[in-house]
């Protein structure tokens, strides 16, 4: 099976300042189809830089990035952008919705850009907004929505083009627990349907959905392994009530 994503000794050094700052220092990562990978680490460990490079939002300094068996880091800017529309969904801590378009259009746009027919785009939008309890908000402008609702719209948008991989950077960073619950439910469902996900997060609840954890420290992978299921029967196994 071709990995969805692969990096070979990926390096990012920021050299805007007086002193070059290495943010990612030789990351070798391979993500198989259907995997849900959580990326954790202290701030400054390079995790955001890593997923931004995977999504083509930040350029690499050296190393290779492969997407669905194709090397992408050597593509031209425009070729990479084109591929990205088809194959990558991105969701950030801040939602970056288009303010003068309705919620429905925000979600349909990426599918249309990726080449879906208007009918397909509409159906996909309806099912995603439905899953996120946002059907009634379809005609609203993003500015009329609460932060939690906007983030759910952003997630719907990221999934609209049925991407090969969903990349996320702290997607529940500023959500209250009810909104987080809706986001968790959708992530868990799309993952069960086979969606590949790579997600940077501090939120243990979201990370707990993943089946693999990659820990970064000082720009390097210091741990990479499966998250086992323990079959805890009761919350009492975690909190001792007695």
């Amino acid at each position: 099976m071709t990995p969805v994503l692969k990096t070979v000794h990926l390096v990012k050094i920021y050299s805007d300042g007086a002193v070059p700052v290495p943010a990612v220092r030789g990351v070798d990562l391979q993500v198989e189809p259907g995997e849900f990978v959580a990326v954790m680490g202290p701030s400054g460990s390079g995790k955001s830089t890593l997923v931004h490079m995977l999504g083509g939002l930040d350029s690499r300094t050296s190393g290779e990035i492969w997407l669905d068996g194709q090397r992408v880091d050597t593509l031209s800017e425009s070729a990479w952008a084109l591929l990205r529309r088809k194959k990558i969904g991105f969701v950030f801590q801040f939602f970056n919705l288009v303010g003068n378009m309705t919620v429905a259009d925000n979600v349909e746009l990426p599918a249309l850009l990726a080449g879906a027919s208007p009918k397909e785009a509409r159906e996909r939008r309806e099912s995603l907004l439905g899953a996120l309890n946002l059907t009634e908000r379809a005609d609203a402008a993003p500015g009329q929505l609460s932060g939690g609702e906007q983030q759910r719209v952003a997630l719907a948008r990221a999934l609209a083009n049925q991407p090969s991989v969903l990349l996320a950077d702290e997607p529940t960073g500023n959500l209250d627990s009810r909104n987080t619950r809706d986001v968790l439910k959708l992530l868990s469902n799309v993952h069960k349907e086979g969606q590949t996900i790579v997600m940077v997060t501090h939120d243990a609840r979201v990370a707990g959905l993943a089946d693999r954890l990659v820990s970064l420290f000082d720009g390097e992978i210091v741990d990479d392994g499966r998250i086992a299921r323990k079959r805890t029967r009761t919350a009492g196994a975690v909190i001792d009530l007695r």
């Binding site: 990370a207 707990g208 805890t232 975690v238 007695r242």
Partner: protein, 168 residues
């Protein structure tokens, strides 16, 4: 468990098995199901201390059952428990002891310990996610207990990160 039983008996007299059921119904699967033997032992001790009294109730074609009720002294003890602030969680963390002491012995390094522990916490978190998704929406006691457990785990993970920053 002494005070939990006293609280249940303050509502109404009950026998041991009814107390077990009341605990299970109140807390659902969030609470480790109490062992009936442990309940009887606890009731025995409460009786010896004068906090509850038992009366024998005859049952047709079964042995008598003991129904327990709260004494005035029992109610006083219960009131004291309810009125005083409850001790917060203390950090008496077995993992932290390992983390500090193990490298001294050369058995393990801290980075490896932290990484393994992080995955362990996340696997617990995954289970709690499952448990929460199987919890009925109106079962607030169980849902809150699970959410509490999740917040504790989140704090443990944040602490782990602090340990990683300062100790490795």
């Amino acid at each position: 468990m002494r005070l939990h039983l006293l609280a249940l008996l303050a509502k109404e007299p009950a026998h041991g098995y009814e107390l077990k059921q009341a605990l299970e119904q109140t807390f659902g699967s969030a609470y480790p199901s109490p062992n009936i033997g442990q309940i009887y032992v606890t009731l025995g001790r409460l009786e010896k201390d004068g906090l509850v009294k038992a009366v024998d109730v005859e049952q047709s074609n079964r042995p008598n059952k003991k129904v327990y009720y709260l004494t005035a002294k029992g109610r006083e003890t219960l009131t004291l428990w309810v009125d005083e602030p409850t001790e917060g969680p203390r950090v008496r963390d077995e993992f932290f002891m390992k983390l500090v002491l193990a490298p001294l012995t050369g058995i393990a390094d801290r980075m490896a310990l932290i990484n393994r522990q992080r995955r362990h916490y996340l696997s617990l978190m995954g289970d709690l996610n499952d448990l929460l998704s199987r919890t009925a929406p109106d079962d607030h006691v169980q849902a809150l207990l699970i959410e509490g457990a999740m917040l504790h785990l989140q704090a443990d993970l944040d602490w782990l990160e602090r340990c990683q920053e300062d100790l490795t």
